[in-house]
């Protein structure tokens, strides 16, 4: 875990916004709406496994809330889930290492699946969705697979963004001082 300034989280949040912009346009262009995975989840994984607890949780909350703004669902559900996932990841990181590609794929898949189940479960409770009516399970599996496969690359992108933004900010502070 690295010591981070607040700018790291801001930079990662901006990266998350790019992911949300991609998410709301790419899958439509590819005409595969069912595969629309939450591309912010690899950043939540990064926040959970590589960042300080408080900053990681705040970043996860902000990413979830930003994603909610562009969704048609109940506002507040996604930040709740991303915070819970980040907490879970934090707890897991004592025993699980996400340095290898395979580990990142598996954790990405697990995060994606948990996120999907939480979403559909909450909407079932709140709006009366049915699990059997329109078969959300295959979609959850497909989306989790996409998150899993993209996780290594996105975690790799998040690393330099985190490091460089922190370094740049410290240099700027040094110049001021």
């Amino acid at each position: 875990m690295r010591k981070a300034s607040g700018m790291n989280a801001v930079a990662l949040f901006c990266l998350g916004l790019v992911m949300i912009a991609l998410q709301t346009t790419l899958f439509r262009a590819l005409a595969i709406p069912y595969a629309k995975a939450a591309l912010i989840l690899p950043l939540v994984i990064y926040a959970a496994f590589r960042m300080e607890a408080v900053r990681g949780l705040i970043l996860s909350f902000a990413l979830g809330y930003a994603m909610d703004v562009f969704s048609g669902g109940i506002q507040g559900l996604t930040p709740l889930f991303t915070v819970l996932l980040c907490l879970g990841g934090h707890w897991l990181r004592k025993g699980v290492f996400v340095d290898g590609v395979l580990a990142q794929v598996l954790v990405g898949f697990w995060f994606g699946a948990t996120y999907g189940v939480l979403w559909v479960g909450a909407e079932t409770l709140a709006e009366g969705w049915g699990w059997g009516q329109w078969g959300p399970l295959p979609r959850i599996l497909l989306q989790s697979l996409v998150v899993g496969l993209l996780s290594p690359a996105l975690i790799r992108i998040a690393g330099p963004v985190d490091r460089l933004s922190g370094k740049g900010w410290r240099r700027l502070q040094g110049l001021r001082g």
């Binding site: 262009a29 809330y65 048609g72 669902g73 996604t78 979609r139």
Partner: protein, 265 residues
């Protein structure tokens, strides 16, 4: 604390859906250019793929023919509507074609971020006169309605979304019902149609003008299946929307909010 904040947001959103705070406005403002650029880029890439790598001439001809079909279908809907109205001697009917209404063209720049809802993001908002609850249409039929508006973009809930409900009627028999989304593309459920009403496969479904959002007579879709169980007051009717929501690139917002309601009363 963050969990409590999230629960607070959920609670306030459920009490007052459709509201947009400064943070949301700012996010829409930041992401709009990104979405527009990405959307245009992907659209260009798709057009390149479809147009140049595919059969250019066939694609163009196909598009022209499709546009012609949509035009003729709209004309046919209008014809049926006028004929039915004349037969019932409704002299006060002032049904107008969609093109005569005050409309605002908008471009689709994104869609729902989660994949679980049928919502589009368009590039017109409050600054262009768009408000919550305005109907959104294309020449082939009804798309949905605006549910949240930022300064320069808006969220449109499609008629296929599970939260959508449209007051409609069968054009042939005038049987009324409420068209609800089923959360999947290409199918909606027509609820509350009395089992004594005559509904057949292929019947055209149009807006009734009574829901307070959509003007009367807009084509919504066609009946694909009808079933009556041994008991119950209503029959189960499934409707296939006329619009191909996956291919939507431009839509029209009907700006005459109050006038539409008033005209149909």
């Amino acid at each position: 604390m963050l969990i409590l904040m999230a629960l607070g947001i959920i609670s306030s959103h459920r009490r007052q859906p459709g509201g947009m705070g400064p943070f949301e406005e700012a996010l829409y403002g930041v992401l709009r250019p990104m979405q527009s650029a990405l959307s245009a880029g992907f659209k260009g890439a798709r057009a390149f793929w479809d147009g140049y790598l595919g059969l250019v001439a066939v694609e163009r001809e196909n598009r022209a023919l499709r546009e012609r079909i949509w035009e003729l279908e709209q004309q046919l809907t209008e014809y049926h509507e006028m004929k039915a109205s004349n037969e019932r001697l409704r002299r006060l009917l002032d049904f107008q074609s969609g093109s005569k209404l005050r409309t605002l063209p908008a471009e689709v720049i994104g869609e729902d971020s989660t994949g679980w809802f049928h919502v589009l993001i368009i590039d017109k908002g409050l600054a262009h006169g768009v408000k919550r609850g305005m109907p959104v249409v294309v020449p082939e039929g009804v798309v949905g309605q605006t549910v949240e508006c930022a300064e320069r973009s808006s969220k449109v809930m499609l008629i296929t979304d599970r939260n959508s409900g449209v007051d409609v009627m069968i054009q042939r028999t005038r049987a009324r019902g409420v068209l609800e989304g089923m959360g999947r593309k290409g199918a909606c459920s027509l609820k509350y149609v009395a089992r004594t009403e005559e509904v057949a496969e292929g019947d055209r479904v149009i807006t009734s003008g009574l829901g307070g959002v959509y003007p009367k007579g807009l084509l919504v879709g066609a009946v694909t299946s009808v079933s009556k169980e041994g008991y119950g007051l209503f029959q189960q009717v499934e409707v296939s929307p006329q619009v191909d929501f996956d291919r939507l690139e431009e839509v029209m917002i009907l700006l005459e909010e109050g006038g539409l309601q008033g005209r149909n009363q």
